[in-house]
């Protein structure tokens, strides 16, 4: 599904050049459940952003289902993100002014879907995450776990094949964290490719394929035979 070839990404910090990604080569198949682990500054978040086309490599090639993506214009990348990638962030990134339903509606609005169609989709999505009764609550009226569930529902509302999660449980207590992981793994079980960046060893170990990074390089890439 995804083919990364010699991806390099460096930043200039003062006089120094920091290699966030140093010749990363990676193949990802559809339905994979991957965890990316590593210390701060190892380049794991940069890799995730690269996969989601939020960031562009300085060199190398990124193919998605055989299509080269590094040459796309910014507007084409935006369309790609909308259609193929769902993002989940540590800090949820819900828009505080919009209700849970309003937040879910955003991607649908961006693609220009008619309000009627939107409303049925949002209603179904809220029911799926068990928050049907919270549709008109603002994010600040929801618990952290509920907010992250809304964020997941928003990421998945257009049914993208790729779900990228950056420390999805980082801001949550164990209990809500487990809820969130359960939902993510259910999505993966339904065929969605799930890539999780995390510090949390326990969470990282759950993935079927575990990637470790250090100084912008992949230093370990283990695929466990039997899924948990």
């Amino acid at each position: 599904m995804i083919k990364l070839q010699d991806i390099c990404r460096f930043f200039k910090v003062g006089d120094e050049t920091v290699h966030a990604l140093d010749k990363v080569t990676l193949d990802i198949s559809r339905g994979d459940y991957i965890s990316i682990m590593g210390a701060s500054g190892s380049g794991k978040s940069t890799l995730l952003n690269m996969l989601g086309l939020l960031d562009m490599p300085n060199s190398g090639s990124y193919q998605f289902e055989g299509k080269e993506l590094t040459t796309l214009s910014e507007e084409k990348r935006a369309t790609f993100r909308r259609e193929n990638v769902g993002f989940i962030f540590q800090s949820f990134h819900l828009i505080p002014r919009l209700t849970a339903a309003g937040n879910l509606e955003l991607p649908l609005m961006l693609m220009g879907m008619a309000p009627k169609e939107r409303h049925t989709k949002v209603k179904d999505a809220l029911a799926n995450i068990g928050l049907a009764d919270r549709a008109n609550h603002l994010p600040k009226q929801l618990s952290g776990g509920q907010q992250q569930r809304v964020a997941i529902a928003r990421a998945m509302i257009l049914k993208p094949p790729l779900l990228l999660a950056d420390e999805p449980t980082g801001n949550l207590d164990t209990h809500s964290g487990n809820d969130v992981i359960k939902i993510l793994e259910e999505l993966n079980a339904s065929g969605i490719t799930l890539i999780v960046v995390t510090h949390d060893l326990e969470l990282g170990e759950r993935a079927t394929r575990k990637i470790k990074m250090l100084d912008g390089k992949i230093i370990e890439d283990v695929t466990s035979e039997k899924p948990i």
Partner: protein, 399 residues
């Protein structure tokens, strides 16, 4: 993305920071209200003045003695100004396309009836007044057409005079003493009201020859000539000038045309309205600066949100439009609020001071509304562009 959705999102964020929205919109509202109100007053003044002037009638040219130029020697020592006479008026009447010619002299005299006396404006004129000055006789008739020197002692009175001197009786056929002479009332003018603050009904009309002798003068104050509608005014003025120079030997008179005065007055008042609208627009500009500030702050506050929108697949164009819509809605709301309060204040003024002429200038109102929205969008453009060119990763990562 749908236009309604842009507006919906814009409204949601404007609603979220309510006080800020109100204050920013207020900036625009004050500007619009100022334009609406000031142009309404300017337009009202223009309307009023034009109305007042055109009450004197149209197509009138007036000739006054004396030339309004500066000469080297004082006129008191070497006066070469000939009096403007009744014969001059009659001579001008014979020019082509001159319909009426009214020789006029005006002064104040006591008018007595029985034991009642009233000082009033006494106008010496001829029988052609009703055809010249857009005035009508209410009862009886106007002065008869008779040779100037043989004019009989007839008087036509204004409505105020009738009310004051003949409160209980019919005035027609009654006698009045004007400056000691006896005059018979043969007509009463229709009520005219006030023109430029003068009571047009507090006037009596007597034959000009009689008035000249009452005032002991040999020159008229003015000759009013009405010409046939549609003829070239400049040509007619030229004819009048030639004729009078022939008679007087030099140009010792001044010709002014009613249309000239009305035209000049109209353009002066028009400029006044435009200037006043310009003053109002300055506050619009200030309102625009307010929008620029608020939108810049909004972009800064919502950098993360911009990053999120980009991650969700929003294009740069969509992000730009989102902020532009917000600016436009903000200024549009301010504009509508300003327009309504402008109307409100104008109505209130009209209610409190009914004499104040107020005339809403719709062209200026609509123009101000458009300027408000355009100002808002221009003010929003720079912050919106700044939001759009942000790198999604940086935006998401910002604190």
């Amino acid at each position: 993305m749908r236009i309604t959705d842009y507006s919906l999102l814009a409204l949601s964020s404007l609603k979220y920071s309510r006080l800020r929205t109100y204050l920013t919109a207020l900036g625009i509202a004050v500007g619009i209200a100022a334009v609406v109100l000031l142009t309404a007053l300017g337009g009202g003044a223009q309307h009023y003045m034009m109305g007042q002037f055109s009450q004197f009638g149209a197509n009138i040219i007036s000739v006054a003695p004396g030339k309004t130029t500066t000469a080297g020697i004082s006129g008191a020592i070497l006066s070469n100004v000939r009096p403007l006479t009744i014969e001059d008026a009659e001579s001008l009447h014979r020019l082509p396309n001159i319909i009426t010619s009214v020789p006029a002299i005006q002064g104040n005299l006591p008018i007595e009836r029985g034991n009642r006396t009233r000082w009033t404006s006494v106008l010496g004129i001829n029988h052609e007044v009703p055809d010249t000055w857009a005035m009508e006789v209410g009862q009886g008739r106007f002065l008869p057409n008779e040779p100037a020197e043989q004019a009989r002692n007839f008087v036509v009175i204004g409505d105020t005079i009738r009310r004051e001197l003949f409160p209980y009786t019919k005035p027609l056929g009654e006698f009045l003493r004007i400056g000691g002479e006896r005059y018979r009332v043969i007509g009463v003018m229709k009520k005219k009201g006030q023109v430029l603050g003068l009571d047009m009904d507090d006037i009596v009309y007597i034959p000009v020859y009689r008035a000249l002798s009452l005032y002991n003068r040999d020159s008229l104050m003015e000759i009013d000539l009405r010409y046939t509608e549609g003829y070239d005014e400049a040509q007619i003025i030229n004819n009048i000038k030639q004729r009078l120079i022939e008679r007087h030997g030099s140009e010792d008179f001044t010709i002014t045309s009613q249309d000239d005065i009305i035209g000049t007055l109209g353009s002066i008042l028009g400029i006044l309205t435009a200037v006043v609208a310009g003053l109002g627009s300055i506050s619009l500009l200030v309102g625009g600066v307010g929008i620029f500030t608020i939108m810049s702050i909004a972009v800064n506050e919502r950098i993360k949100e911009i990053g999120l929108l980009r991650a969700l697949g929003a294009s740069r164009r969509q992000v730009t439009l989102l902020f532009l819509f917000e600016a436009a809605v903000l200024s549009g709301l301010g504009g509508i609020f300003g327009m309504l309060s402008g109307f409100g204040i104008a109505w209130l003024l009209h209610y409190v001071i009914p004499a104040l002429p107020i005339n809403i200038q719709w062209d200026y109102v609509i123009m101000a509304e458009i300027i408000a929205i355009v100002t808002g969008m221009i003010a929003g453009l720079v912050p919106a562009r700044r939001a759009a060119v942000m790198e999604p990763v940086d935006a998401l990562r910002s604190e």
